[in-house]
């Protein structure tokens, strides 16, 4: 008889796995990916493919040649997510060499220096994006107009202001009528390619596709509602108050649907590794992100504040984890 196996309980294990969660997120990103192909055509394809391939390559090379680990981690899907999210944050005509630098910073600096998956304090894709935004401000803030599907959309694209820059102009000039140039909310939600000012990064042009991804992730229990809902609710309430006080600030629906807010709230702020562990902590984290985003958008130098807000709050995650404990069993009775 073969030796019996002994181990400590539990002996049963759920069917969940890291890969399942990661590929679930990738599936949730597909609608937005398709929309970006439809709107930006070849340019989008080049940016996405380069970013994903570069992230995988850098992760493989770093684990193999620098960390010298036996097992590479590229199959767990996390590098693909980083690549996709990074590309979603880039304009569709960004030169390949800039994307490569972004991917290197995202994977190399943002993730592998801290020991790889699970150890990074900041969202790697956002680290890459923030680095590019600071290093190449011109390339990173000129967005091709939606609908240039051919190669010309990549090499020599017509660019256009985004809804966010319209909002910024309104604030700078103090002229609320500038805001009339914004497309209407439904168009922004669906990402109508014919709309004026329909430009933006790859992943942020269609709110509907992102929300579809959110619903999928909620259904599959990959993430919980706390972070996205608290971010959106904070932005809605705060911008509503500001809009009511001074109409120079855009209306709350436009604030939510413009720029990377939904993309960030649904896919980047909810990154497992860099977000708080408890529901209470996640809500605090979401509220702070919403607040910071709006502050940067309305009072800061940049038109978009989502990525910086998330990075700032990533830094606070350990602190939040330290102070927000789940409700222990028995506390309920103790109070009674």
């Amino acid at each position: 008889m073969a030796n019996l196996i002994v181990s400590l309980s539990p002996h049963a294990h759920g069917t969940d796995s890291v890969e399942k969660n990661m590929y679930g997120v990738i599936i949730a990103l597909i609608p937005a990916l398709i929309v970006s192909f439809l709107y930006f055509g070849l340019g989008s394809l080049i940016v996405c493919a380069t970013s994903v391939a570069a992230c995988l390559l850098f992760e493989w090379a770093i684990t193999k040649y620098i960390l010298r680990r036996e097992r590479t981690t590229i199959t767990d899907g996390s590098a693909i997510i980083t690549g996709l999210l990074l590309s979603f944050n880039l304009p569709s005509n960004l030169p390949i060499w800039i994307i490569l630098i972004g991917a290197l910073v995202a994977i190399g600096v943002g993730k592998m220096t801290f020991g790889g998956l699970g150890n990074n304090p900041f969202n790697p894709a956002l680290v890459g994006r923030a680095f590019l935004l600071v290093s190449f401000p011109v390339q990173m803030t000129t967005w091709p107009t939606v609908g240039q599907l051919g190669i010309e959309g990549y090499i020599d694209a017509q660019t256009e202001a985004t809804p966010l820059s319209v909002m910024k102009t309104a604030i700078k000039t103090g002229d609320a009528s500038v805001l009339d140039r914004l497309p209407d909310s439904l168009q922004m939600f669906l990402g109508n390619p014919d709309a004026a000012y329909g430009a933006g990064c790859l992943g942020e042009v269609c709110g509907a596709a992102l929300v579809l991804g959110l619903l999928f992730m909620l259904w599959k229990k990959i993430i919980t509602w706390h972070i996205p809902v608290s971010i959106v609710a904070t932005v809605f309430i705060l911008s509503g108050i500001m809009h009511a006080v001074n109409p120079v600030y855009a209306n709350p629906v436009a604030e939510i649907l413009s720029g990377g807010l939904l993309l960030g709230a649904i896919f980047m702020a909810t990154d497992y590794v860099t977000s708080p562990m408890t529901a209470k902590g996640q809500i605090i984290y979401g509220i702070c992100i919403g607040f910071l985003t709006l502050m940067i958008r309305d009072f800061g130098a940049y038109p978009e504040g989502m990525s910086f807000a998330i990075l700032i709050m990533n830094a606070f995650t350990p602190l939040i984890n330290n102070y927000c404990k789940p409700k222990r069993f028995g506390e309920v009775t103790a109070k009674n």
Partner: protein, 467 residues
């Protein structure tokens, strides 16, 4: 049907109750029965027989070795072969009494008839008398923890019992012994509940049953019409509902505070259905605890089933009765896959707390390869005690006992929900359990030190006063 459940955490393992509808069979008598002297929490029992003594079914083999202890009775008739050490469920050798089986002769006092004795017909049974009979007949918690029942029935004077909650949840996958017991002996269980209620002087009893056992709920609801003070509570299927604290929360919406508090501090006395049945047999039929319902199960077993087993029967005999060990890598569990203990040998005997022998084969028997924590917080939301398993595991691995204690590691009930749910397959509970043991040791040490210091101080003061 309105059902309830506990409020924090929980997981949903696959049920795998393959033996649910297989009626219970009586297991064959063993050739040699092994009785470990420590089948319960507390002091080991002290043997009262010697090598060569003749014993009958129901003869006292060992008396309680302390206040928290329970006597052990023979389940077979025959001769005491030796009092020796033998491998127990942990793999360590522990003192046992070994009896060579000859025939099947029962002690005279045991009532072997099927006649149902109701409490109303026995006015002589005072609470004290019931507790005495429970203690004398060696009844312990049959759910697996094996805490002597008589002690649970005499709550400390600081707490007042308000109700008895009977655990018919059986939330562990695979196991069906409690379910079969409820289906086959509902009347006896209800009388047992009556007895338990009388013993702790309360007039409210609940039987919690998960909704994955609709037949048992239906049957007991039907039978309990004669017992207006016993209520059947349907509960959602969720692990670890059978945990004492979770069950109290689910049934009467009260949460037991952190240790050292016990359920009776919130007014509940929790007992297993198996215990209720054993109490009935002990009090009404004078039958000591020497046999129990055991599920022998496993996906690869050819004939899994439920058995009424005499204690001391080696597990190998039961496994052989079910078609023998399957080919391949096997893991044999005393108990279910969530909290059961993996055995290094199949010659381990069935004891008072063995509700199941589960055989996991091949892929089920192995752990999955762990990968780095992705901080998904699924363990936090699964923990039924509201702890942070990822943090406790890391702190324990780094041997930071002080912070472990601050993070309430001693509240952990070791249910395994965290490790079950972890997508990275991390050995969370392995680490937490080690941390919990160490922290509890530190706490005990500190308490002992404080006590000694207080005593020394007191003695010094007395000396001063005397001068």
């Amino acid at each position: 049907m309105k059902s309830f459940t506990f409020r924090i955490g929980g997981v949903h393992p696959d049920e795998n109750k393959i033996t649910a509808e297989i009626p219970t069979k009586e297991a064959e008598l063993p050739k040699q029965a092994i009785f470990p002297l420590s089948q319960h929490i507390g002091a080991p029992a002290k043997p009262v027989v010697q090598k060569g003594d003749k014993v009958k079914v129901g003869t006292l083999l060992a008396e309680a070795g302390g206040f928290v202890s329970a006597p052990i009775f023979s389940s077979v008739s025959g001769t005491v072969a030796k009092i020796d050490a033998s491998v127990d469920a942990s793999g360590y050798r522990k003192p046992v009494i070994i009896i060579n089986v000859e025939g099947d002769e029962w002690e005279e006092g045991i009532d072997r008839s099927d006649k149902l004795e109701k409490l109303s017909a026995h006015p002589e049974l005072t609470p004290e008398e019931i507790v005495k009979r429970v203690r004398d007949n060696g009844i312990v918690g049959m759910g697996g923890a094996c805490f002597p029942t008589a002690i649970k029935l005499t709550p400390p004077p600081t707490a007042k019992a308000e109700c008895v909650i009977i655990n018919g949840v059986e939330c562990e996958p695979y196991i069906t012994s409690d379910y079969r017991l409820m289906m086959e002996h509902p009347d006896e269980i209800l009388v047992g509940v009556d007895l338990l209620m009388k013993a702790v002087k309360v007039d409210k009893g609940y039987i919690g049953i998960e909704t994955n056992k609709p037949k048992a709920i239906e049957l007991l609801e039907e039978k309990s019409k004669d017992y207006p003070h016993i209520q059947i509570v349907p509960l959602d299927k969720k692990y670890p509902q059978g945990g004492e604290k979770q069950l109290v929360d689910a049934v009467i919406r009260r949460q037991v505070p952190a240790p050292p508090a016990i359920p009776v501090n919130v007014g509940a006395v929790v007992q297993n259905v198996g215990t209720a049945f054993a109490v009935y047999q002990a009090v009404m039929k004078h039958k000591p605890l020497f046999e129990r319902y055991v599920t022998v199960t496993g996906k690869k077993l050819t004939n899994p089933g439920n058995f009424l087993v005499r204690m001391g029967t080696p597990m190998s005999q039961l496994i052989n009765a079910c078609g023998g060990l399957p080919e391949g890598d096997n893991k044999i569990l005393a108990g279910g896959p969530m909290m059961g203990k993996a055995l290094p040998s199949i010659e381990v005997p069935i004891v008072k707390g063995t509700n199941s022998v589960t055989v996991l084969t091949d892929a089920d028997a192995h752990r999955k390869e762990p990968s780095p924590c992705i901080r998904c917080a699924k363990c936090v939301s699964a923990c039924p005690m509201g702890l942070e398993p990822y943090l406790l595991a890391t702190l324990s691995a780094h041997q930071d006992w002080e912070r472990d204690e601050q993070e309430d590691i001693v509240s952990c009930i070791e249910c395994g929900s965290c490790q079950f749910t972890c997508p990275a397959h991390r050995p969370l509970l392995d680490n937490i359990r080690a941390g919990k043991q160490t922290v509890m040791g530190i706490i005990r040490e500190r308490a002992a030190k404080a006590k000694a210091e207080a005593e020394a101080k007191k003695a010094a003061e007395e000396q001063k006063a005397a001068k």
